[in-house]
């Protein structure tokens, strides 16, 4: 019997898992995917928003502003890349200037430090911004983060501190007897005193397994372009247009690995698993983003990937963090769309302080260690340290991914950790092998073979991503 069972190993579930491991509790996390943070948490803008935009008084506003400053410590403890580069919300027409003013006062109401800057200062700090730009709202606390390793390292730390993680298990039913939940998956049945529903786009389905809900999931897809890393930078800040009813609009931003992102679109979809892309949407993104940063138009020969993510938008249009009406010990944490990533540490605190603490005794876990063992980041090491490392372990000298210069040693290191990758995409998200110009054209066969060797299985069993996504179908001369 678990004290707390979390359904969903995205950013919300992983943050909660780690924070709950600070206490003497028996905690488990279940996810239907074969990796943590594999759906919404891995396909977003990777922005630590300042909090200038959410409607004052909303949970989104409150938790965004509380969450933002918490990331410096989290990223330090968990060896996650973060850069506080600031965001610029740009007015391209004179008529938009009053809206910027409005945003400025909204920011102040939310408790966010912002500053209006004129077009001259804007051009100085962001040389590639459109000459049409009339001014901008600068929020210096905004930043960018590595969203993949954030979730992975949160869960690694949680597991290192005693949390049990069950991947590849889909919840099919939940029942309650004598105040204990029986959570049945396609593989096992688990018992838990408290259940937290952090199931992202499937939170409605999970919630309905125990009680009626008065909200609906209306998943919204966002498509993106990814550009290779190049210098001089396309942009120095996160560049937003003025927000609209559909969200913060199409942004242009650097990533912590020096790439650039452009997107997202915003389209209501029926199937939350639909992460397809289409040419009309992409060309609309291109047009809007290039209105902000015209030079981007010339960089499309360095565009390396398109992708789409799905936001778990609900009809409430705010975070839903509450116990179900029927069971106080069933907690829904739903509708965690943007700014969900930045809010996640505050969401976790909110759940623990306002809900969990009233359900169970929280006794400090004295052996909790907030730090994970640091990873070797070859790209940021000097020659001497790198040489010393290769002398100790020659695998750090063998480069597998020549685009991103990822070594065999780094791949083996991530395979040795407590939340290791099982798939080629899992390796890619952790160490960036296959993230570059050739998109794994050269290194994916090597990565496939490394995984097969590590797990002692045939390469035929190695998947790109989800179940059924095996890369190879036959050995030669084996088709009947």
């Amino acid at each position: 019997m678990f004290d707390i069972l979390i359904i969903g190993a995205g950013i919300t579930g992983s943050m909660l898992a780690r924070d709950l491991s600070r206490y003497k509790l028996k905690v488990a996390v279940i996810d239907k995917e074969n990796d943590v943070g594999n759906v919404t948490s891995s396909a977003n803008s990777a922005i630590i928003h300042s909090g200038y935009d959410p409607i004052p008084g909303s949970l989104k506003a409150k938790l965004n502003v509380l969450g933002n400053p918490m990331f410096d410590q989290i990223c330090d403890e968990l060896d996650v890349k973060i850069q506080r580069i600031g965001s610029l919300t740009v007015a391209l027409e004179d008529e938009q200037l009053p809206l910027l003013k409005e945003l400025e006062s909204r920011s102040k109401e939310n408790g966010v430090n912002v500053r209006l800057i004129d077009s001259i200062e804007l051009k100085k700090i962001e040389p590639n911004i459109s000459n049409e730009a009339k001014g901008a709202l600068l929020a210096e606390s905004a930043g960018i983060i590595d969203p993949f390793n954030l979730v992975i390292h949160l869960m690694e730390n949680a597991v290192d501190n005693g949390v049990q993680l069950f991947l590849d298990e889909e919840v099919i039913s939940i029942s309650n007897k004598n105040d204990v939940f029986f959570v049945k998956t396609n593989k096992h049945e688990y018992q838990s005193k408290i259940v937290i529903n952090a199931a992202g786009c499937n939170a409605d389905k999970i919630a309905k397994m125990v009680d009626e809900i008065d909200w609906k999931m209306i998943p919204r897809k966002g498509e993106y372009f990814v550009f290779d890393h190049f210098l001089p930078k396309l942009v120095n800040h996160v560049i937003f247009p003025l927000p609209s009813i559909k969200g913060k609009g199409i942004l242009v931003a650097p990533t912590t690995s020096g790439n650039f992102l452009m997107g997202p679109s915003s389209e209501e979809i029926l199937d939350a698993n639909d992460v397809s892309t289409d040419l009309p949407t992409l060309s609309n993104i291109k047009e809007q983003a290039c209105a902000l940063v015209p030079i981007a138009k010339q960089k499309f020969n360095q565009m390396i990937r398109v992708f789409a993510g799905v936001r778990p938008t609900t009809t409430r249009h705010d975070f839903i963090i509450e116990s179900s009406n029927k069971y106080k010990n069933f907690i829904n944490v739903a509708g965690i769309e943007s700014p969900g990533l930045v809010s996640s540490p505050a969401i976790s605190n909110y759940v623990i302080d306002n809900l969990i603490s009233k359900l169970i005794d929280l006794e400090i876990n004295p052996s909790f260690n907030p730090f994970i063992k640091k990873y070797h980041h070859l790209s940021s090491m000097n020659e001497k340290d790198r040489n010393d490392l290769i002398k100790k372990d020659p695998d750090f000298g063998t480069i597998i991914c020549s685009c991103e210069k990822v070594s065999l040693g780094e791949i083996k290191e991530t395979l040795s950790r407590s939340v290791p990758p099982r798939t080629v995409k899992g390796v890619k998200r952790r160490v960036r092998a296959g993230f570059g110009l050739c998109q794994g054209g050269f290194c994916s066969p090597s990565v496939t073979l490394i995984l097969a060797k590590h797990y002692n299985v045939s390469p035929l069993e190695i998947k790109w991503d989800k179940d059924g996504s095996e890369i190879l179908l036959n050995k030669v001369k084996e088709i009947e």
Partner: protein, 416 residues
């Protein structure tokens, strides 16, 4: 820091030819750096034949072709490092290498880049639809099959009629896979005619010209590929969909010179995505040369070898002779010609200069004209020119020595 006279990055067909030629021209302190576990580059996985027709007047497989050069490298005692990647090259030609023994810094007096190219992939072409497993570039599928012994697909649609796509259509068919069709967005094939005949026609694999993938469907693995017809501007024409149930989409949608190192050095780049070079294959950075598919993508390996030799001779001139740097003339493509190599001409040239170029689209009965200002240097009639076949025209040095104005290479109609 160790010094080396000539460092060659890449031990494929371009790099080996460059090394051998430089050695034969008197450069003895040469080092080839190869990232793979053997010399030969991509030829190792090209087990089909058709290589060497120009070079050896016989049809060899890729491994046979490369072994002839590998043997020469061994015989001459040219040094090479395998499993070694070049991490960085500075403008001062200090090269940072990584391999099992550590990080090594080398100072080179001259460098030849012969790093080859990479395949354009799904992201770069904004492939519409889902992104499941089973979308793979032709070269990667070829590596899985010919090097590792695994098939990446059983029921296959191929997008792009480039040579690797055509070769893989036949190769996968021979291994028992079913290739449903090859789709080509252009109204003509981008592969060599012999490959269309030998790889598609001989196996009854249909080729749909002016067709592209309008949607990929599949949650975990490719389930369906939808092809649509495109108009002359390559826009999809609605209601022309053809649906194919398949498990794999092989992409053969172009090769791109792989040049991040050169770009980082501040090398002047051309529209081919390779560096701009002069007739000695030297870039705008003195002593830095490029050849093979990292300069421009070739269709025949024999021509890569030839270009490698050119770079080897260029580097030996740079190292052993006084290499007078003169104000080069610029060579530009015009009117239906998509690019020309070299892009610059050193006026002191004393040998024949080979102009290599491709046309933008197929053209019949045209004159290729090379001019400097108003002065016509050369005019050659060509009955057929197609984009998939690189054209080479050799021009005598004496025709180029006294030129003072930039050079244009252009196409003119028969009547002009």
């Amino acid at each position: 820091m160790t010094d080396v006279d000539l460092l060659i990055i890449g031990g494929g067909s371009a790099g080996m030819a460059a090394a051998i030629e430089a050695f034969n021209h008197g450069v003895k302190n040469i080092l080839i750096v190869e990232k793979d576990k053997q010399l030969g580059g991509i030829l190792n996985q090209c087990i089909h034949n058709g290589f060497g027709l120009t070079e050896f007047k016989e049809e060899l497989t890729g491994p046979e072709y490369l072994s002839r050069f590998e043997n020469q490298v061994e015989t001459l005692g040219i040094k090479y490092l395998l499993n070694t990647l070049v991490l960085d090259v500075s403008k001062e030609k200090v090269v940072t290498l990584s391999n099992k023994s550590g990080i090594t810094l080398l100072k080179a007096r001259a460098i030849i880049f012969a790093v080859g190219c990479y395949e354009r992939n799904a992201g770069a072409i904004q492939l519409p639809g889902d992104r499941p497993s089973g979308i793979i570039t032709a070269g990667t599928a070829q590596k899985y099959l010919n090097i590792h012994g695994y098939l990446a697909g059983k029921k296959i649609v191929i997008l792009g009629s480039g040579d690797i796509g055509l070769i893989m259509a036949r190769r996968m068919t021979l291994e028992g896979a079913k290739v449903l069709c090859v789709s080509e967005i252009m109204p003509y094939s981008n592969g060599l005619n012999r490959n269309i005949a030998q790889c598609l026609n001989d196996y009854n694999i249909p080729l749909y010209l002016s067709h592209t993938v309008s949607k990929v469907i599949g949650k975990s693995r490719v389930e369906k590929v939808i092809l649509s017809k495109v108009d002359e501007n390559r826009n999809i024409i609605p209601n022309t969909e053809m649906e194919f149930d398949c498990d794999t989409l092989i992409l053969s949608v172009g090769l791109v010179p792989y040049n991040s190192l050169l770009e980082n050095m501040g090398c002047l780049m051309s529209s081919t995505k390779g560096p701009c070079v002069n007739e000695n294959m030297m870039t705008n950075i003195p002593g830095v040369f490029a050849c093979g598919n990292c300069l421009h993508v070739h269709d025949v390996v024999d021509f890569v070898t030839d270009e490698g030799r050119n770079a080897g001779i260029g580097a030996s001139k740079f190292l052993l002779e006084t290499f007078n740097e003169t104000n080069s003339l610029k060579i530009s493509p015009k009117n239906g010609i998509s690019y020309v190599i070299p892009q610059y001409l050193d006026k002191n040239c004393n040998e024949k200069v080979t102009f290599k170029f491709r046309v933008r689209q197929p053209i019949k009965n045209a004159y290729v004209v090379i001019k400097s200002g108003d002065k016509e240097i050369l005019k050659i009639f060509k009955p057929v020119l197609i984009p998939s076949e690189m054209v080479m025209i050799k021009v005598d040095a004496e025709k180029l020595n006294d030129l003072t104005e930039d050079i244009l290479i252009t196409l003119e109609g028969k009547d002009e």
